[in-house]
C-alpha cells in the first residue's frame, strides 16, 4: 500500500517524525510504502491534495480551515504538534519592548497561507496592517532572516526551531533580541497537523491505511523526541540538496521536540477551539467567517492509538 505525504516545507527536522518512521522501517512494519514529498515556495499542500497529488498533507490549521471554507473539505486526522513554535523576533535597538510598540513599525510576515495567525493577532491588538498611520507596515518576508539582520524590518516572523536559531547563529545575542511567542500572547494556532480529504475517510480501506500511517508516524515522532541527534542525522541524510548543516538540524530537532512533546497524535479539542476562536476574532477581516463543522476527527487516532 502506498501513501503520499506532502510536506509543508523543505526537508528539515520540523518533519523528523516522518523521516524517522521511514528510515527505521516503521512504515514498512505496517505494510506501507510512504513517499514523502518535500514542499517549497509555491507549493500549497491543500492544492496538491485537491489535485490528487497526495493522500495526506501537513498544514497549519488556519490555512486548512480557510481552505475548508473555500470548499476544499480538509479534515484533521492527527495533530503531532501540541504547541506553536511561531513568534515575532525583534531587534531591541528598534525600541520594541511590548506589542504596544508595534505601531508604525515594519514587521516581516510569511504569506502563502502562513499569514493568518499574524493577521488575527494584529486585529486583536487593534493594529491596522494596510500601512495606514498608527498601524504596522507589513513586509512579505522571504525565506530567511536577512530583513532583520539588515534592519529592513523591526521584527520578523521566526519559528523557535528554525529562523530564531539562524538569528542567533548570525551573531546576534539573545539579549539584543525581543521575542513574542504566539503561545504566550494567547493567539497560538495549531501547526503541522495531518489532513486528508473528507470523502476519502468514508472509504474503509483508506481509513485503514491512515490508521497505519498515523500509528507509524507517531512512533517515528516519539522515537525522534527520544533520540533527537539521531533523528537530525536521519533528516540530514534525507536532504537531497546537501545544503543542510548538521548543527542546525540538531538545534531544530531539539526545539521541535519541545513542541511535539505534549501530543500523542490525537487532536486536543480545547486547542482546536482556541484556534478557531483566535481566527474568528479577526475583526473586520476574519480568516474564517463561521464556525467550521467536521474539520477534525478522532476516527483515525482512536484506532491508531489503542
Amino acid at each position: 500500500e502506498t501513501v503520499k505525504l506532502q510536506l509543508k516545507w523543505v526537508t528539515q527536522a520540523q518533519f523528523a517524525g516522518y523521516y524517522v518512521a521511514e528510515a527505521k522501517g516503521y512504515y514498512k512494519e505496517e505494510g506501507l510504502e510512504v513517499e514523502i514529498l518535500p514542499g517549497g515556495p509555491d507549493i500549497a499542500p491543500a492544492q496538491v491534495i485537491a489535485g490528487g497529488g497526495a493522500d495526506v498533507i501537513i498544514d497549519w490549521m488556519p490555512s486548512a480551515l480557510a481552505a475548508r471554507e473555500k470548499g476544499l473539505p480538509l479534515v484533521n486526522i492527527a495533530q503531532p504538534f501540541k504547541s506553536s513554535g511561531l513568534m515575532l523576533t525583534c531587534l531591541k535597538e528598534t525600541g520594541v519592548a511590548s506589542p504596544a510598540d508595534f505601531a508604525d513599525k515594519t514587521l516581516g510576515v510569511w504569506f502563502f497561507g502562513n499569514e493568518y495567525p499574524f493577521l488575527s493577532w494584529m486585529s486583536q491588538l487593534g493594529l491596522k496592517t494596510d500601512g495606514s498611520p498608527g498601524g504596522v507596515t507589513v513586509l512579505k518576508q522571504g525565506f530567511n532572516v536577512d530583513p532583520l539582520l539588515q534592519k529592513q524590518a523591526a521584527c520578523i516572523s521566526t519559528m523557535t526551531y528554525n529562523e530564531y536559531g539562524q538569528v542567533l547563529d548570525a551573531g546576534i545575542k539573545a539579549e539584543d533580541l525581543v521575542t513574542f511567542k504566539y503561545e504566550e500572547q494567547g493567539v497560538a494556532t495549531l501547526e503541522d497537523g495531518l489532513y486528508v480529504l473528507e470523502d476519502n475517510l468514508k472509504d474503509p480501506a483508506f481509513e485503514e491505511k491512515m490508521v497505519k500511517f498515523v500509528r507509524a508516524s507517531m512512533k517515528g515522532w516519539k522515537d525522534a523526541e527520544a533520540n533527537p541527534d539521531e533523528a537530525a542525522m536521519i533528516v540530514l541524510e534525507a536532504d537531497q540538496t546537501g545544503a543542510q548543516t548538521e548543527a542546525h538540524q540538531k538545534f531544530m530537532m531539539g526545539e521541535v521536540a519541545k513542541l511535539t512533546a505534549g501530543s500523542n497524535g490525537a487532536l486536543d479539542e480545547a486547542d482546536y477551539k482556541r484556534t478557531v476562536a483566535t481566527l474568528m476574532a479577526g475583526g473586520s477581516d476574519p480568516v474564517i467567517t463561521k464556525e467550521p463543522e467536521g474539520a477534525w476527527t478522532h476516527q483515525i487516532t482512536d484506532k491508531a492509538l489503542q
Binding site: A50, F112, N114, T129, G131, V138, L139, K140, G142, Q152
Partner: protein, 274 residues
C-alpha cells in the same frame, strides 16, 4: 461539433483577413480567445475540475469584477513601477553596452563572454540578492527586471550592430565617417530589426520578472505578491484575475513594442508587406 466550430472560426478569420485586414487584427485573436475561453469553461465544468486547481473563466470574471481596486493597485506597483522602469533601464543599458562592445574590440572580446556569463545568472538567485541590496519595494523588482532584460537585448543588439553588409560599411569608410557617425547613420539603423527582436522578448520577460521577483520579499502589494498569497489561500479565481491583468498588460506592452517596430523598421523586408 468542435471541429465544425474550429472550421467556422478559421473560415471567418480568413474572410476577415481578406476583407478587413485592420479589423481582423483585433477580430481574429479575440475569436481565438473566445473560442479558448469557451472550451475552458466547458471542460472545467464537464470534468468538474476543482476550483483550487483551475477555476472556470466565469469564476475568474467574477473575481475581476469584485477586485477592481486591488487589481489596479497591484498593476501600478508591479507593471508600471517594477516592470516598465526596469525594462527601460535594462534595455537602455544593454544598448549602450552593445554599442560600447561593438566599438571597442577589446571590450567586445573581453566583456561579451563575461557579460554573457553574468547576465545568465538565474532570476531565483538574483531576486533575493536584489531584495537585500535595494529593499523590499519596487526598486528591487526593477533591478531584477534590469538584469533579466539585459541579456536578450544585448545579444540581439550586438548581432544587429554587425548586420550591415559590406558595401554599406565600405561606403561609410570612403566618406571617412567617424565611428560615431558610422554608428549613427549605419550601424544603429541596420541593427533595429535585431534590437526589436530582443525588445519583444524582453517585454514579456520584464513582466514575468517583476511578478516572480515579488516572491522573494515585497510589500503587501503587487501582482506577484497577490498571486502567491492567493494561491496560499486557495483563492484561485483571484490568482487568475491577476493573471488576466498580467496577460492584458503584457499584450499591450508587446503590442506597443511591435507598433514601434513597424514604425522604425518599415524598410525591413519582414515589415514591408504590412
Amino acid at each position: 461539433m468542435l471541429a465544425a466550430a474550429v472550421l467556422f472560426a478559421w473560415d471567418l478569420s480568413r474572410l476577415a483577413i481578406r476583407r478587413a485586414p485592420r479589423l481582423a487584427q483585433v477580430l481574429v485573436p479575440v475569436l481565438g480567445g473566445l473560442f479558448a475561453l469557451g472550451l475552458w469553461e466547458v471542460l472545467t465544468r464537464a470534468f468538474e475540475v476543482p476550483e483550487v486547481i483551475l477555476p472556470a473563466p466565469s469564476a475568474i470574471w467574477g473575481a475581476i469584477l469584485a477586485n477592481l481596486d486591488l487589481l489596479r493597485d497591484d498593476f501600478i506597483q508591479t507593471v508600471l513601477k517594477g516592470a516598465v522602469t526596469g525594462y527601460v533601464m535594462g534595455a537602455a543599458a544593454a544598448v549602450l553596452v552593445a554599442v560600447l562592445v561593438d566599438r571597442v574590440p577589446f571590450l567586445r572580446r573581453g566583456l561579451l563572454p563575461v557579460g554573457n556569463f553574468v547576465s545568465a545568472l538565474p532570476i531565483v538567485g538574483i531576486a533575493p540578492i536584489m531584495v537585500m541590496w535595494f529593499g523590499f519595494d519596487w526598486q528591487s523588482k526593477a533591478a531584477v527586471v534590469v538584469v533579466m532584460v539585459f541579456f536578450p537585448v544585448l545579444v540581439n543588439m550586438v548581432a544587429g550592430l554587425a548586420a550591415a553588409d559590406r558595401m554599406q560599411r565600405d561606403l561609410m569608410e570612403t566618406w571617412g565617417a567617424t565611428p560615431t557617425q558610422r554608428l549613427r547613420y549605419l550601424s544603429l539603423p541596420a541593427a533595429m530589426p535585431f534590437l526589436f527582436n530582443g525588445l519583444k522578448i524582453a517585454a514579456t520577460l520584464a513582466l514575468i520578472g517583476a511578478i516572480v521577483a515579488e516572491n522573494f520579499g515585497s510589500p503587501t502589494l503587487g501582482m506577484g505578491f497577490r498571486i502567491s498569497t492567493a494561491v496560499g489561500q486557495l483563492a484561485l479565481p483571484l490568482v487568475w484575475a491577476e493573471i488576466a491583468v498580467a496577460a492584458l498588460a503584457g499584450s499591450v506592452f508587446y503590442g506597443l513594442v511591435s507598433a514601434a517596430e513597424r514604425r522604425v523598421t518599415f524598410w525591413h523586408p519582414s515589415q514591408r508587406g504590412k
